[in-house]
């Protein structure tokens, strides 16, 4: 009589709501993962965010998070891009119009879109993706690391058509005067925040010379391929490096002090060393060691900044501090010589 007719308690109602909410969250996650799996851009961006977040927590954790960014292969051709992409997966084929101007326009638009996509996908230069623990402590020099976002193969039939189209290709100009679809800003404004000089687009001459490469002797090669490359170098300032080292020493000291046995043994050892002669020797040894280490750290920091300034300087405006590093999207011919110039090593997947 007393308990049988009671309705549903408020606790049960709340729990049911929480259960339904959890179920919806699970479904949402499932949908998100599914869409990320099917969309490589989302997956790449997710991994970029994961790595940057891991780096915020601990710089050493950053290296453990792989960038799941695959090089997109685009074939812009009259026929096919067999010699460039044969046997490779997920190639996007785009047929070129017969009209040379229209074909040139399509190549420029596709390339500009790829540069913009790369910039957005890699975190718009706002995220530190590649610096290592050793670099943050000045033990290692900063080096530019790259992700090849896209490879664009251009295959045109006929020498005159090649000359007409590739010879007049001007992606920089296209990016300057055309808006990113769905936005009010031009490509250059969107990427560089309005500062035209802050983002390198490409070396016009090299691209135009693509057509002059002797590709007749090579049947499978990288000829007539452009690469959209995201490169980043981040050099840490002296203050930052020594602060990081200081925090390491603090952590290590705390660790030693807290480790039973080790702290005690060290204290014992210190007592043994500190005699009149021993103190001098120890001071000299420690002093030389610290000075050498600090010198090495300072040298690496200087070298990193110097390298960074040399690497970034030509791409950045006069007002910017190129010593700190930079993030750049570049369009370069896809070959060893050009990639080696801007990348110490590659991240992401081919």
């Amino acid at each position: 009589m007393n308990g049988k007719k009671r309705g549903v308690s408020s606790r049960e109602v709340i729990l049911s709501f929480v259960a339904i909410f959890c179920f919806v969250v699970v479904l949402g996650f499932f949908h998100l993962w599914k869409s990320a799996e099917s969309n490589e851009d989302d997956l790449c961006y997710l991994s970029v965010l994961s790595r940057a977040t891991a780096g915020e927590i601990s710089i050493s954790a950053k290296g453990a998070v792989p960038l799941k960014c695959y090089t997109k292969k685009i074939c812009l051709s009259d026929k096919d891009c067999k010699s460039s992409f044969f046997g490779e997966k997920n190639v996007v084929n785009i047929g070129l119009p017969r009209d040379n101007d229209k074909a040139r326009g399509l190549i420029e638009k596709t390339t500009a879109d790829e540069i913009y996509r790369c910039w957005k996908m890699m975190g718009e230069g706002k995220l530190d993706l590649f610096s290592t623990y050793a670099q943050s402590r000045g033990w290692e020099q900063a080096k530019p690391v790259c992700v090849i976002c896209s490879r664009i193969a251009i295959n045109l039939t006929g020498g005159e058509r090649e000359k007409q189209i590739l010879g007049n290709l001007d992606v920089k100009n296209y990016m300057r005067y055309n808006r990113v679809p769905g936005t009010e800003k031009t490509y250059i404004e969107s990427i560089s925040g309005g500062e035209l000089k802050s983002v390198a687009v490409y070396d016009d001459e090299k691209i135009k010379n693509l057509v002059t490469e002797d590709n007749k002797k090579i049947i499978i090669s990288d000829a007539n391929q452009l690469a959209v490359v995201y490169s980043q170098i981040h050099s840490h300032g002296y203050g930052e490096v020594f602060k990081n080292l200081g925090s390491d020493v603090a952590v290590a000291t705390a660790g030693i002090a807290l480790t039973p046995g080790v702290g005690g043994a060290l204290k014992g050892a210190t007592r043994v060393i500190i005699t009149v002669v021993g103190a001098k020797v120890a001071a000299v040894v420690v002093g030389v060691g610290v000075a050498a280490a600090a010198g090495r750290v300072a040298y690496n920091t200087y070298a990193s900044q110097d390298f960074s300034a040399a690497f970034c300087g030509e791409f950045q405006g006069a007002g910017s501090d190129s010593k700190k590093g930079c993030s750049i999207v570049q369009l370069v011919p896809y070959n060893k010589e050009n990639i080696e110039k801007i990348c110490t090593y590659l991240d992401g997947y081919p």
């Binding site: 499932f30 792989p66 046997g87 002797k217 990288d222 991240d347």
Partner: protein, 229 residues
């Protein structure tokens, strides 16, 4: 009394149902999320290596069908993080020791040689260490086992397949002071090329050349050179 107790227990269980559902859902979310994260972050390197092998074999087959007289066949190999754990190895039809995956004929494999640095002599042995010749690193049993366990192979229609890396001596003092040749091609995390050569009688060689002696070959221990004067 017992029936009353059982009824009470059933009532208790009914009250616990939402909590049980909730706990199951939370566990499911964790397992699902963990599995997806594992999937995302583990498969990439393996997929990349597999794709490289498939692309190389497809390009070799494409070149084989073309008129290749006086033409060089160069295949770019775009590296990735962790690529230097992976090696391209060729096995011929009549090779006595080769992975089971490759039992049918000749094949090209991409194999992961884990912990290669400092354990390189587990994977290779040096043959013909005479003063007049180059030093050749031949694959050892462990390398073949690695191909079987951590590798992928693709059949190729050639009677003989050879993979070769040629490193010029780069001037750094070493026990060899000579060029080094290795019977496999190591991937790197940059952009490199391999050259494909088609010989008579259906023989294929895939070659990688570098002007720099690899670091691991610079520190060859003396005991591995019993014939060096």
């Amino acid at each position: 009394m017992d029936i009353l107790k059982m009824k009470n227990r059933k009532g208790d269980l009914r009250e616990q149902v939402p909590e049980i559902v909730l706990v199951v859902l939370i566990i499911f979310t964790f397992i699902f999320g963990g599995y997806k994260l594992y999937q995302i972050y583990s498969a990439s390197e393996i997929d990349a290596a597999k794709n490289i092998l498939e692309s190389v074999v497809a390009k070799i087959n494409l070149a084989k069908g073309e008129d290749i007289k006086d033409k060089a066949v160069e295949i770019p190999l775009q590296g990735f993080k962790g690529a230097d754990n992976w090696w391209i190895v060729g096995f011929s039809k009549n090779d006595k020791i080769k992975p089971q995956k490759c039992y049918r004929g000749s094949c090209l494999c991409i194999c992961k040689f884990e912990n290669f640095v400092n354990k390189e002599y587990d994977y290779f042995s040096i043959i013909k260490p005479e003063e007049s010749t180059i030093y050749f690193f031949e694959l050892r049993g462990k390398a073949i086992d690695s191909c079987q366990e951590n590798g992928f192979c693709k059949d190729v229609e050639f009677s003989k397949v050879m993979t070769l890396s040629e490193y010029e001596f780069s001037g750094t003092p070493s026990p060899t002071n000579k060029p080094v040749k290795v019977g496999a091609i190591r991937l790197s995390n940059s952009l490199e090329y391999v050259q494909v050569l088609f010989h008579d009688k259906g023989e294929l060689s895939v070659k990688f050349s570098s002007k720099k002696t690899p670091d691991w070959a610079l520190n060859i221990p003396q005991f591995l050179f019993p014939y060096v004067k």
